[in-house]
Symmetry: C2
Subunit: 490 residues, 2 copies
Amino acid sequence: MKTLQSIQARTGAALGAPLLATTSQQVDAAATAAAHAFEGWAASTGEIRGNLLRGLASALEADRDGLVSLADEETGLGPVRLNGELDRTAFQLRRFADIAEKGLAFDRLDDPAVAGPPPGGHPAMVRQRVPLGPVAMFSASNFPFAFSVLGGDTASALAAGCPVVIKAHSGHLLLSNRVFGLVRAVLSAQKLPAGLIGFIQGGGTDVGVRLVQHPAMAAGAFTGSTRGGAALQAVANARPRPIPFYGELGSINPVVAMPALLAEKGPELATLMAGSISLGCGQFCTSPGVIVLIKDAASDAFVSYLTTALAAQSPHAMLTPGMRQAFEAGVAHMLAAGAKPLLHEAGKPEAPRPFLAEVDAPNFIAKAELREELFGPSSLIVRAASVREAIEVLSAVGGSLTVTLWGVDAPTADNQALVRAAMAIAGRVLFTGVPTGVAVTAAQQHGGPWPSSTQPMTTSVGDAAMERFLRPVALQDAPAWLLARNGRPC
Amino acid sequence: MKTLQSIQARTGAALGAPLLATTSQQVDAAATAAAHAFEGWAASTGEIRGNLLRGLASALEADRDGLVSLADEETGLGPVRLNGELDRTAFQLRRFADIAEKGLAFDRLDDPAVAGPPPGGHPAMVRQRVPLGPVAMFSASNFPFAFSVLGGDTASALAAGCPVVIKAHSGHLLLSNRVFGLVRAVLSAQKLPAGLIGFIQGGGTDVGVRLVQHPAMAAGAFTGSTRGGAALQAVANARPRPIPFYGELGSINPVVAMPALLAEKGPELATLMAGSISLGCGQFCTSPGVIVLIKDAASDAFVSYLTTALAAQSPHAMLTPGMRQAFEAGVAHMLAAGAKPLLHEAGKPEAPRPFLAEVDAPNFIAKAELREELFGPSSLIVRAASVREAIEVLSAVGGSLTVTLWGVDAPTADNQALVRAAMAIAGRVLFTGVPTGVAVTAAQQHGGPWPSSTQPMTTSVGDAAMERFLRPVALQDAPAWLLARNGRPC
């Protein structure tokens, strides 16, 4: 039997006893159990779905102290952040409970028959939606609650009427198992089938790949690296029957700051930005990895303020020793590609130091290496000669979860062009503040053109996340008994 | 220079002078011109978009006689059908004009700021949509108007704010060129850039593949074979920056008929079904390729009625000599796989004869060859021992544009299970009538799980077709000038 070992983030020491990796047979069994649970769950009422989601939220909160303590040991993210993340996760579960109870998954469009020949005439049509089926859900490393076992993918899939099989992330195995223990208890207390929420763990193709390949799975949902996500997407596409794969992958989240605003508020904005870069040790998918400045004295001053503010930050340990190594390698890679270091200090064994570098826009546009996501407390300043060149920088980035535009309050031609360029590449465009912090709300869009998402029309955060798991079906001349179900699958 | 030759469908003879294939350089020029047209078109008002779509509809109607005559020579579909299809195409263009004028592409969701810390508190958010950019549009063979140069993909992309570059289908080159002549005249009369609607023609990877690979293209839209669509989808996914590819591919459109209804209306339904099988020489993506019957005397009688009714049909010529050959090869392939022929006659050189065969459900489920789309006037009867086995047949089909269920008017457990199985695999489920004929209406869903669609959450017919080309963007703390645009890109 393969075993897995949890690691303390801060020390790299083994934590707890080894865990058994899920076998191929157990992966198949989880997929099959999810398929068996599908029919009943797809036909469940909004109230039943809401009860489950609320039960899960309450179970998280009831075990808060133990969960946060364990998460802190495994991830090093600290209790303040982890308590906040647990709050967010419970909030999100309850928000999807609301959505389920309102019956939004059962929304339908009635399109009554029109007499006469086509194209004007047509039969009675109803457009409603069916849940896709069991979802293969891949947890992320950097949000051990909000993008993990009971994260947004799980909540939105359950609200849509889909079972899930959750692949735990190796970075917080003990926490994942503890949360899954809560899941089992809630399913049992609510007399729901255990197969409705499955759980697997382990590396290699015998676990995650096998799950995506299993004929019972109807979709994949993933948050993680571009490399890992692209590989799993290829597996989903290579199935005899390809399935939708929703991957939220890499993002470098450019910030474009206009000199006039920097002249006015440079020190304040530098402090804000330094905090965003080092927040959570830079391990956010929305971490501002690129700061585009127009060549100007105010920009020069901002760089100086930012360097100072960032030097004053003390990032905590990274999530895993592997991530720490990848960060240092990424820094070396960026320097080798010609980035000029502004802040580059050797860290201590327990935590990295923030890294800041700069490069001219033409180099940034020419070298793909400079546009790769560097996961950790770092950012790259890109010096553009003009707004036009700043726009070329955004186009070179191509796809990003966010773009932040500072100082575009007036509708000048330059500002309009910047907004256009930002909207062309990002799922979310911010006009104040920093991109870290993704509101769980109705209008959120967390997903953009490749590589930030494999499915840029979808979001993995916010109310529309549920849409990923509901497929439209038109019913033509449907019988009365079916219409009486008001959009709920039978 | 490579040349292309139009062919008369009925005789296989050359029609008109050879045409020049588009060169690689011209493909690049069309993509670049579309990119240049994008900014202005994305920012255009609904009225401007509506004017263009209405102008295109009127231009088609004004040239009706010439277009239908040419289409008939190239496709053999006959003037009645072709006039109807032209009506439908004009209807569809005007429907998307209505949609554009109503501003549906500019719909937005206002999500005002909520005071307080997260997760409950959040900044002011607005969720709106941006057009994706230039769309590579691949015409289909079998609808020379409705899924071709000015078909639904073009209409919905233009309504969304996206330019298109249209790849003409080799089966109706002269018609495509004539329609594109109308396009140029309308663009010129409306003082719109010529690059807004581009046109290319030719085979090989130097035309269609090059278009999908071009960095300026933001999406692909395709209607055609599973093989061709899958190949182009792979090209879209293999780009340095993958783009959405909307392919409507193969579909075998099962019909499940319950014995009680067949006992009541067997002859009438057999006549209806025979007409649907041979309509347009079976060259519909919604042609009923599989008829699932429960073993019963009424089913036996229906097979007999259907065989007779189908023998009385006289399909017209197929679209191209290549399709005729593929049909005969497909028939031979199905017989070799064990299907027992019920109606199998040698056709004349100018037209094939209808083909009907039968097979037991276990064989159908076991042999993938029996589940392949056979494009032409044919259907395969699948004999199931029970409703349970009929459901297994639907599951084996896996993905289909349509499923038709005859005789499920009562909410019995069997009927509910059948409806569930049908909704699990199809984009549209019909409860009366036949699947040929796809209403252009609000509730339509033309697209289902693989292989019927590469993107099963989307439709290529009906109002929601526009959604394929609009990507959500969340604006956080947007300035007043941007909000004043009411969802229209700047």
